[in-house]
Structures are given as structure tokens and as C-alpha cells.
Symmetry: C2
Subunit: 123 residues, 2 copies
């Protein structure tokens, strides 16, 4: 760890930054966990679809996304473990839906996806 000592480095700025990061450590860790879940294209689509359709089962998602059931199931489990979706059982079908917890943040991502899409349709 050879810390380079820049001639023009501002020690006060560095110290302030260190404190900021330290005080926000938990928020960073929580937030990056959620973002890494949403940062996979398949999972992002699932989240988007759950927002649109309220709830969907692994079978539907497999059909819609053209992927194997186990692949979908494993993505769902990951997001359930991460606390961003929840499951409801009805007979032998399991319906997944978005958990309220990070919904506000996820919605802002969906909004941005729609904006991006609108932009690209123009071009």
C-alpha cells in the first residue's frame, strides 16, 4: 500500500472525505447490495416486470424472458435473500412481487429506463 504523497494534495479535503465515507459506510453497503442485484440485465427486467404486473410466477417469467426455470428461480432467490422481492404461495404456484422496502428507489430506476427508452425511440 504505497500511499503516494502528492505535492498539491489537500490533507483537509482528504480527511473530510474519509470521515464522510466512514459515517455513510452502512448506507453504502446496503445500497451497493441492492444496486448489484438490479445491475444484472435479467434481474432488472424481472424487477421491471414485477412493478408493471404487480406479481408473476417463475413459470411466467421463464416464458417472457425465454430462460430456463431454474435460471429464473435462482435469480428470484437472490433477490428474495437481498430483501427486494417477496413470495406468496397459491396452490403450487408461487407469486413474486416487489417488497415495499426499496420500492421508491427502484421506481426511480424504472422511470429512468422509460426515459432512456423514449430517447432511443426518437433517434
Amino acid at each position: 500500500m504505497n500511499t503516494c504523497i502528492r505535492l498539491y494534495a489537500d490533507p483537509v479535503q482528504i480527511k473530510t472525505c474519509k470521515e464522510k465515507v466512514e459515517n455513510t459506510e452502512n448506507a453504502f453497503s446496503q445500497m451497493s447490495a441492492v444496486l448489484s442485484l438490479a445491475g444484472n440485465e435479467v434481474r432488472l427486467k424481472i424487477l421491471y416486470l414485477l412493478e408493471e404486473e404487480k406479481e408473476l410466477c417463475p413459470c411466467d417469467l421463464s416464458d417472457i424472458l425465454g430462460m430456463s426455470i431454474p435460471a429464473i428461480s435462482q435469480h428470484l432467490r437472490k433477490m428474495k435473500d437481498g430483501g427486494i422481492i417477496q413470495a406468496r404461495k397459491e396452490g403450487q404456484t408461487i407469486f413474486y412481487s416487489l417488497k415495499p422496502e426499496h420500492l421508491k428507489m427502484l421506481r426511480s430506476l424504472f422511470k429512468y429506463i422509460n426515459e432512456l427508452n423514449a430517447k432511443m425511440e426518437l433517434a
Copy 2:
């Protein structure tokens, strides 16, 4: 790919969803690329710090985050390749800053980080 044919599956819903996903394909791919960059804790911190400080060099970031220079440099390159940060050279120092492109979206993430942090300080 043994598509399961649920008895109560709604073929119209499935078809509509397929079309939605197909029409938004590019936006999903762009968006998930950005989110996967932000979904790493180190990179999320770097992005946050760049927003706060306007610009920082690899050396500063290495100091602030307590990580080796090459590790930081590789994260920066990844984000530069991904088009979310930019570089400015001044002598032998290279200053990195956020690119305007996805700034609006990133800012909403930072806002959420601050909200999360405020919540956690209460508890």
C-alpha cells in the same frame, strides 16, 4: 428449456410482457451496465465522492478509501470505459469527474444513500 404450461397462465399478459421487454431491450442493457458499475461498493463510494468533490485523482481516492493505487485505477478505468466518468490531465496528475450523461440518475442514487444514512442514524 421445458416451458411449463400453467393451467391459469394468462397468454395475453405473457405476450404483452414479451413485447414490453423487447421494445425496451436497449434501455435495459444500457441501464443494467450503469447499475452494475454502481453496484460495487468501492465504485459507489468513488462516484459519491466525485459528486461531492467535483474531481479527485487516483492518489487521493487511494488515500481516502485505504486501497492500493492499482485497485483504484482499475475501477476508474472500468467506469471510464462505461462512460460514466471522465479524465482531465494536469501535469502528471489525472483528475476524474462524473460525466454529465447519467448524472441525473446517479444523483437520485446519492440522494437515496443520504436518506438511508439519515434513517440509520436515527436507529
